[in-house]
Symmetry: C2
Subunit: 349 residues, 2 copies
């Protein structure tokens, strides 16, 4: 084991692996034999995956891949593999690829989103950040694919990961083209979510089944399950941007609004309250005190009930995911997936 890897594993407090999880999900996860050991193996594999990268790349990649992330996608991969009676160790390459792909999209998102949001910062820092973000993202994408290309179930997983990556990009592009267009349709919104979030959740779930040697109906059901919880996850994320405890959330509310993102709460609120559109135009034009305009819009959106509607939509997508899960063999793994999905939907931060 490389020295650096040993250090990371030493620092990794085992109890921290379950730190953030709500009680019920935690109880279900504890029923899964050897899950904690598998998660530690996953952390070690994540460290190994980037250890031959050049220093700067490694720093940027590690920053995101570092221990302590939520690891939702790789956890789904490991549980899906167990549900299909596979050895979760065989799913670790796919779990790693899922997390690296997710990190790569975050790095590229940084370049895409940061422009208007970081105007106050020195240009050189933003530019240096852009170059390293683009290249580290590229590096992680190719590394994720290399790992899958070298794994045993590659014939199912590799073409599928490629089309997933394309869908991720297409979701981002659609989101970009809708920026500032608050009259976007719900269909547009769900197309963005399916691409940028649901697709990788779907792949992560199916990859666990492929790793277990499962083909046909079960991995297909897991794609539906993964895409369902991915969609629900994004809906909750978008609702939280309008209505959350800022301290628990760890970031300010209204960020989507400032980035001109037409998420479901805003789309629904604009339908319900005709006075919102002109206020949004003032916000985009920077016509007035931004902080006041943002609180004003946040309050107006909440008054329409649109945030609760987004949460209700999340519950519907979770229910569809649960229905798909019925086609996956029952057992501790499936129950853990179901409980974790429920908790992801009900989370308050």
């Amino acid at each position: 084991m490389a020295k650096e890897q040993a250090v990371v594993l030493e620092q990794l407090d085992r109890s921290a692996l379950r730190g953030d999880r709500p009680e019920k999900a935690q109880a279900a996860l504890e029923q899964v034999p050897r899950l904690e050991e598998d998660l530690i193996q996953l952390e070690a594999a994540l460290v190994r995956a980037t250890e031959d990268a050049e220093e700067t790349l490694q720093a940027a990649a590690r920053h995101l891949v570092s221990a302590g992330g939520k690891r939702i996608r790789p956890m789904v991969t490991l549980l899906a593999c167990g549900a299909c009676a596979g050895d979760p160790k065989s799913a670790i390459p796919y779990a790693v690829a899922a997390e690296l792909t997710h990190s790569a999209t975050l790095l590229h998102d940084d370049v895409i989103d940061d422009g208007p949001m970081r105007r106050g910062q020195p240009a050189s820092r933003v530019l240096w950040g852009n170059a390293v973000s683009v290249l580290s993202g590229d590096w992680l994408l190719t590394r994720a694919l290399e790992i899958v290309a070298a794994a045993p179930a590659r014939s199912a997983a590799l073409p599928s990961l490629l089309s997933t990556m394309r869908r991720l990009v297409e979701g981002e592009v659609l989101q970009l083209s809708l920026r500032g267009r608050f009259e976007a349709s719900e269909q547009d919104y769900f197309d963005v979510v399916k691409g940028k979030t649901a697709s990788l959740f779907g792949w992560s779930a199916a990859a666990g089944a492929w790793a277990a040697g499962s083909r046909g109906e079960v991995p297909e059901a897991l794609v539906v399950f993964g895409e369902g919880i991915g969609t629900a996850f994004q809906l909750v994320d978008d609702a939280l941007d309008y209505d959350a405890d800022e301290q628990k959330l760890g970031k300010r509310l209204g960020i989507d609004l400032l980035e001109g993102k037409a998420t479901l709460p805003l789309i629904r609120a604009c339908e319900a309250d005709a006075t919102l559109a002109p206020r949004l135009l003032r916000l985009i034009a920077g016509d007035g005190a931004i902080d006041e305009l943002v609180s004003d819009v946040l309050a107006a959106v909440k008054r329409t009930g649109a945030v609760e509607e987004a949460r209700a939509s999340a519950r519907e997508h979770t229910a569809a995911a649960m229905a798909a899960l019925e086609r996956v063999p029952d057992g501790v793994h499936r129950r853990a997936m179901a409980e974790a999905a429920r908790q992801l939907t009900e989370r308050a931060f």
Copy 2:
């Protein structure tokens, strides 16, 4: 055939396909049966490869992939396939992947390089450009891989394209880390070139052989050939930045200098003329009239003979490429590759 594709093919003046080539190379290429038809097929396949992309992506991708590019990499793929007695049509997917990969790196380079060079432009345009450049580059990379993953010789070509993409990124990262460090070593310079340029030339050549069903020594020799001419190509490019007819080159001289790129002419010149380093420091610091400082440094570099040394190094790498080509079956295809390689090395723009 899609309407847009038909339009592109109509616009494509067949004679333009050979417009820029020096006479000798053109004569050798004309000995290759059906090459012109294969190149037209290639153009059509390039159009098809992006026709299902979202509008903005397509525009950005087409801008680079549009008819009229030099098509050096895909041409090498087609000729290598012919040399191995394959039907060049079977090499078209690989030729397309090579060109899309090249275009993707140009799109990402744009984000990496454009910072300091485009300061005078409105920030919003630069930022919008960044987002679209990152996403179109990502899209083209995944599309290139999807095309190879769906092609018959994928088992050899796909893992190799993945590691090529990683090497491209690693070359760019190394170049970035050396920016402004004019005391870089020649080894550093060649490591950058091997990664960012030679690797894809090597893959492009070998992919032609793989498409023809060739395995073992011949594709290995073609990797060496491709990497050799790729290195020579980059050396000539870097020499031309110091000494070319600006009008024929189609861009200003000294761009590498302004971007802080320590290419071989500059590294050699700094070794030969100790007064250069302080002038470069003034240039980086923007201390003085930039245009005058640039002409001063360009003239000083030329006086040391470093530009001719870079051209001599290009000739050495071409010679090594030619030696490798001896292991490839002789015939019109191999002779066309040899002649094209020679002309790439001797080009004056």
